[in-house]
Each structure stands twice: as structure tokens, then as C-alpha cells.
């Protein structure tokens, strides 16, 4: 039965339909969590005793940074599935995720920079995490560029899957090397984002926002995947039926 479900999900037609019905629910849930997170984070949570109000950027920055990694890992997983079992939907997931992941990474960088200015007095500091995030952005951009450069869509998707897998092996190494480089060159003088403990009143909005970002990713990736699917299968019977029924 499980197998059957899997096959149904993997068929483009069912996926398109089920994704279409899931999107509003996910989007609604995302909106709820975002509002709750914003209310908690911007209004209820007290100011930080060291950073004052500026720490509230954390509720954007940290979930975005988490998501930037999470999306990449999802892409690598989907890429592996797509390469090994030749499941079209997995390939589609990889390439639909890339722009979203790049957006999260960019957001993490920008918000990190905006947070860093009042804290460190500079827009950019070669902090280990920011640097690793920057390299991650390059990896995402490489994936998007490669996908754009290859004309044949299936070839492009599979090339991107391989690149993602190569990248996912490298990410831990890059993180490790950058951390190491950072301790070597900067010493412990730079203020770090991470603190030993976070107060519960700040943790709750952080988690709320993290869930909101995850839900956001879920429904946006489904939206993108539906587009990609339509484009690829524009000759298939089910697409024609879909268009004619409108």
C-alpha cells in the first residue's frame, strides 16, 4: 500500500493536484506562525540587556540561516533520489528549491550585516558564520547558473543534482575550514552571535519564526515545482486536460 501511495505521489498528475490543494493550507499555517512569531518577537519579548532592541533581527537572521542549510540538505537528498531512482519529481524538487535556498542565504547575509553594523560597527566582518554563508550563496548561485546554462531540462536537472551532491560533501569541510581560519586570524576578540543560553521569552518567537520559515519553504517549493512540472510536461495528456477544463 505504501508503495502504491509512493507511485501515485510520483506521478506528475497526482502531484500537481495534491500540491495544489496543499498550498493554501501550508500558506495559511505559515501566515499564522509568522504573525504569532512577529507579535511575540517584536512586541512581547523584552529587549536584550546587552544589545537592546537590535537583537530582534535575530528572529529573521537565525531562521534564514537555518533554512539556507536545511534547503541545501533537502536538495542533496532529492538529488540523490533523482539520480539513483530516476524519479522526475525529485529532480524537480532540486531545481525548484535552489532559488528559495539562495533567497534564504541572501536574507541571512543581509540581516547579518544589518545586525553586525550596530554590534560590531562595520557592515561586514569576516565572521566565520557569515563567511560560510557567503560561500554557501556562491554554491547556490553556481547551481542556478548551471541550470540556466543547460538547455535540455532533464540534463540540466541531473547535472544540478550531481553538483548539489558534490556541494553537500563540501559544506561541512567549508564550515570547518572557515571556523578554523577564523580562530586563526581573528582571535576571540570578535563578538560572536552564539550565546551560551537564550532566554525562553526569546526562544519562543525564534522557534515560531523557524516553523513559519519551514512552512514558507514548503508551500513555495510546491508552487515552483508545479510550474516546473507544467513546463516539462506541457505535451502530456493531463496538462492538456487541465488547460481545457479551465
Amino acid at each position: 500500500m505504501f508503495n502504491n501511495f509512493f507511485h501515485k505521489m510520483a506521478s506528475p498528475k497526482y502531484f500537481y493536484r495534491i500540491a495544489g490543494s496543499l498550498i493554501p493550507w501550508l500558506a495559511g499555517a505559515c501566515l499564522l506562525f509568522t504573525l504569532a512569531g512577529l507579535y511575540y518577537g517584536l512586541y512581547l519579548a523584552p529587549p536584550d540587556y546587552q544589545q537592546g532592541e537590535s537583537y530582534r533581527i535575530m528572529f529573521i537572521h537565525v531562521p534564514a540561516a537555518w533554512m539556507s542549510m536545511f534547503v541545501y540538505v533537502v536538495m542533496a537528498g532529492a538529488g540523490a533520489i533523482g539520480l539513483v531512482w530516476r524519479i522526475k519529481l525529485a529532480e524537480i524538487m532540486v531545481i525548484s528549491s535552489a532559488p528559495i535556498g539562495a533567497s534564504f542565504t541572501f536574507l541571512a547575509l543581509v540581516s547579518g550585516s544589518l545586525w553586525g553594523k550596530p554590534m560590531w560597527g562595520a557592515w561586514w566582518v569576516w565572521d566565520a558564520r557569515l563567511t560560510a554563508e557567503l560561500i554557501l550563496l556562491f554554491l547556490y548561485l553556481g547551481i542556478i547558473a548551471l541550470h540556466g546554462a543547460i538547455e535540455d531540462r532533464r540534463t540540466a536537472a541531473r547535472a544540478v543534482a550531481i553538483l548539489t551532491l558534490v556541494g553537500v560533501i563540501n559544506i561541512p569541510i567549508i564550515h570547518f575550514s572557515v571556523e578554523w581560519w577564523n580562530t586563526l586570524h581573528q582571535g576571540p576578540t570578535v563578538t560572536r552571535f552564539d550565546k551560551p543560553a537564550i532566554h525562553i521569552s526569546m526562544l519562543i518567537p525564534l522557534l515560531l519564526m523557524a516553523v513559519a520559515f519551514k512552512l514558507y519553504y514548503a508551500f513555495v517549493v510546491l508552487m515552483r515545482a508545479r510550474c516546473e512540472l507544467l513546463e516539462r510536461e506541457s505535451n502530456a495528456g493531463w496538462v492538456r486536460e487541465l488547460v481545457e477544463s479551465k
Binding site: 539520480l83 560561500i135 556562491f138 554554491l139 548561485l141 553556481g142 547558473a145 548551471l146 546554462a149 543547460i150 540534463t155 541531473r158 547535472a159 550531481i162 553538483l163 551532491l165 558534490v166 556541494g167 560533501i169 563540501n170 569541510i173 567549508i174 570547518f176 575550514s177 572557515v178 578554523w180 581560519w181 586563526l184
Partner: protein, 227 residues
């Protein structure tokens, strides 16, 4: 018997690439000249203060090596792709990953090895102390094969593209970051007179990892690019 013919194909492929390189000596020298030129431009740009050069020297040499490797990468599969021999490798009765390894090894002999050999000279140009030059040589010895191995994956992904060059640099350079960090800080540390075993073993670990994984990734990428 089968193993025997595989070894034969491996050595023949390396020999063939070396012969081809010898028949195109001028092209072969390009990355090397680039490496030397870029490195010798830096003192002109930032001033020839020995202390300054010593501080930035390892980084400069390694960045130049990265760029020279990037410049030479396109030639790994490009001509084979254009004249159709690349298809013949994929349709060979030997594992493609082994053939790829032969290609990469040949590429390293043609482009990486010359860089390695002139690097002490550049170390002298940039006022590195003797200990630093020695470690620079070792890091390049361990590191340049990694450059070729990682590069081969990316070049295999872009080989079918008309404008592959620009994308190639976007794909390759982020992946070179760890090597750059480990290698240049190894030279720094050595120049300061500290032990560098940890650095060198990290680079060696990178080499082992690249050696064991990248031929498979390159083979898969070539299959995708040619399909």
C-alpha cells in the same frame, strides 16, 4: 586478464595525453606563465616591503595557483568533447571512473607539476623564509592534485556548454576554499616557525577524499553532459 587490459588502457591514456601536450607545448606553458605573472604583479601593486610580502606571500601564491588551475581546467575534456573521443571513453569496456582518473592524472602532470616546480622560485621572489618555502612546496604537492580532481567534476558538468568558462569559475572556486585556507595558513604557520603537521594532514585528508570520490562524480557528470 581484464585487470591487465585496464592497466594498459590507463597507462596508454596518460601517455597519449602527454604526447598531445608535447605536440602543443605552447598551450601547455600558458597556465604556468599566468601563475608566475600574477604572482610577480602583486609586489608591483602593493609595494615591495619585505614584511608585507612575507605576510601576504603564501596567500598570493595559493590564490595564483587556484586561478592558474582554473585557467587550465577547461582543457581537461574540451578537445576530447569536440572531436568525439569523449564518447569513446564513455563507451569503453573499462570503468569510466578509472579512465577519468587517468585523464586527471595526466592533466596534473601537464599543469600541476610545473606549478609545483616553479613555486620555490616564487617563494624567493616574495621573500618567504626557507621553512615557508619548503612547506609551500609540500602543500602544492598535496594540493594541486586536489585542484585537478575537484575541477574535473565541475568541468565535466560544463563541458557541453558553449559558455562554460564563466560558469566553471563560479562552480569551482567555492569548492577550492577549504584547500586555500588550509594550505596558505600552513605556509604562514611554517614561516612563523611553528609545526604544521596538523595542516598538512588536513590537506592530505582532502587529497584522499577527492581521490576516492571525484572520479565517480566526474564519470557521472560526463554521462549527464553527453546525454
Amino acid at each position: 586478464m581484464k585487470c591487465d587490459s585496464l592497466t594498459r588502457a590507463f597507462t596508454l591514456l596518460i601517455r597519449r595525453d602527454l604526447i598531445l601536450a608535447m605536440r602543443h607545448r605552447a598551450e601547455m606553458a600558458n597556465p604556468l606563465l599566468f601563475f608566475i605573472l600574477v604572482t610577480s604583479l602583486f609586489p608591483l601593486g602593493i609595494g615591495a616591503n619585505p614584511n608585507l610580502l612575507q605576510a601576504v606571500g603564501p596567500g598570493i601564491i595559493w590564490v595564483a595557483a587556484l586561478l592558474a588551475a582554473l585557467l587550465s581546467l577547461d582543457s581537461v575534456f574540451r578537445s576530447d568533447f569536440e572531436d568525439g573521443t569523449l564518447e569513446q571513453y564513455l563507451l569503453s569496456s573499462h570503468p569510466v571512473s578509472v579512465l577519468v582518473l587517468a585523464k586527471v592524472l595526466a592533466h596534473w602532470l601537464i599543469t600541476g607539476l610545473p606549478l609545483l616546480l616553479v613555486s620555490p622560485l616564487l617563494g624567493v621572489l616574495l621573500d618567504l623564509p626557507a621553512a615557508g618555502i619548503k612547506v609551500l612546496f609540500v602543500t602544492l604537492l598535496l594540493g594541486t592534485p586536489v585542484l585537478s580532481l575537484i575541477g574535473s567534476v565541475c568541468v565535466a558538468l560544463t563541458v557541453g556548454l558553449r559558455k562554460g568558462g564563466m560558469i566553471l569559475s563560479l562552480l569551482v572556486l567555492p569548492l577550492y576554499v577549504p584547500l586555500l585556507i588550509f594550505a596558505s595558513s600552513a605556509v604562514d604557520t611554517a614561516a612563523a616557525g611553528l609545526p604544521v603537521t596538523a595542516h598538512l594532514s588536513l590537506i592530505a585528508a582532502l587529497l584522499v577524499l577527492a581521490l576516492s570520490l571525484s572520479p565517480f562524480a566526474t564519470a557521472a557528470a560526463l554521462r549527464v553532459s553527453l546525454s
